[in-house]
Symmetry: C2
Subunit: 217 residues, 2 copies
């Protein structure tokens, strides 16, 4: 069976996976870039942007696991864009331009279904109103025998954790206090008991945590 | 000027410094021992209990900083005991027995003042109804020219952070999700901007964070 994986998911010390007040100008709200400053210098991030070079240390060792073996992503509607409710602007094709970095099918969870959106480079957004388990079934079909990545945001990761559908999760604890935004951990008391958790700090100041579901070790 | 320091203060991944439901049987509520499992094996903890031996690795390197140079502690009333409101049982002398591990004056913040309590081994509990700044002034007098430790619980550490009275803070991020209890970080948005923060993970699974106030580096 293919695995369900989370990668490069950053949270603040107070557990927020995104700030308050998402908008076109501020995809992560008042958090700005601060949850991802560790990520931008890495070779993996730069390669996603079509740029050469970048760091190849501890942060990149984790960042580089994002792509290989992944056949599809599932993301929440708020990762796809800043609009809420019915789509007023169907021209919106995500934050990532004509050639998004996913290069696989992407299932976007939304109560407001719209036709699939085929982008350059192999990314197709499929809009689906479904439970986590149903979305995973669709993503697995789209992924062939490859793994499925849960791309975020916080409520999407939380829903898949709640449903015990995640096999591997890489979190990045960033030593900032956001104070407000969307919490990852709400409703997840004792979730770590289902996982083996390891931690390593990087010179950038962040701490990488790996959660490996005990039954899949 | 003497420093104001926090040591060995453990928080869960979701930011709780203690669990819900403190009682005589459960000083940390439903968290039980889980926030402090990293601490018990250390030589420093065992020495506090009058026991020989113990680990002398990374966790102990941090734990051992708790005592040296400290001339007084300030703690919240809920660290001292489980009673709330007026003291119904003045026989209560804290969780620590006849010879508490502090061996210095200890200022206990409470709205219900009672006479000082002199214990064996140099610990005297002084009960004070005061602001953080006033309590610190008293603790500094009691400490001579030595440092003052802010001993917790979460709301006490938070109040001293809010008042910008803390120079050094050692936190221990324990990879558990408590879900409920008392949060450290409430009201502390951007608090890290006043500090230089460093992180190191230990084989026990916890991550030690040091906060050094920028102006005191």
């Amino acid at each position: 069976m293919s695995l369900v994986r989370v990668h490069n998911f950053a949270v603040s010390l107070d557990g927020f996976g995104t700030g308050e007040g998402q908008s076109f100008e501020a995809p992560f709200g008042h958090a700005g870039h601060r949850l991802h400053d560790w990520f931008f210098p890495t070779r993996s991030f730069r390669a996603m942007q079509g740029q050469p070079g970048g760091s190849t240390g501890i942060d990149d060792a984790f960042a580089a696991q994002w792509g290989p073996g992944i056949g599809a992503e599932i993301m929440g509607r708020n990762k796809f864009g800043y609009q809420r409710g019915p789509w007023e602007d169907e021209e919106w094709q995500g934050w990532w331009g004509d050639n998004p970095p996913f290069h696989t099918p992407v299932v976007v969870l939304t109560h407001h279904v719209r036709p699939p959106l085929e982008m350059e480079g192999g990314t197709t957004f499929h809009f689906l109103d479904a439970s986590p388990a149903e979305a995973l079934e669709m993503a697995r079909q789209l992924a062939g025998d490859q793994d499925v990545r849960i791309g975020g945001g916080p409520s999407t990761v939380r829903q898949f954790l709640d449903a015990d559908l995640i096999d591997q999760m890489h979190l990045v604890v960033v030593p900032i206090v956001l104070g407000r935004g969307e919490r990852l951990w709400e409703s997840l008391e004792d979730v770590e008991r289902r996982f083996t958790v390891e931690a390593v700090s990087a010179p950038s100041g962040v701490t990488h945590l790996t959660f490996t579901r005990t039954s899949t070790e």
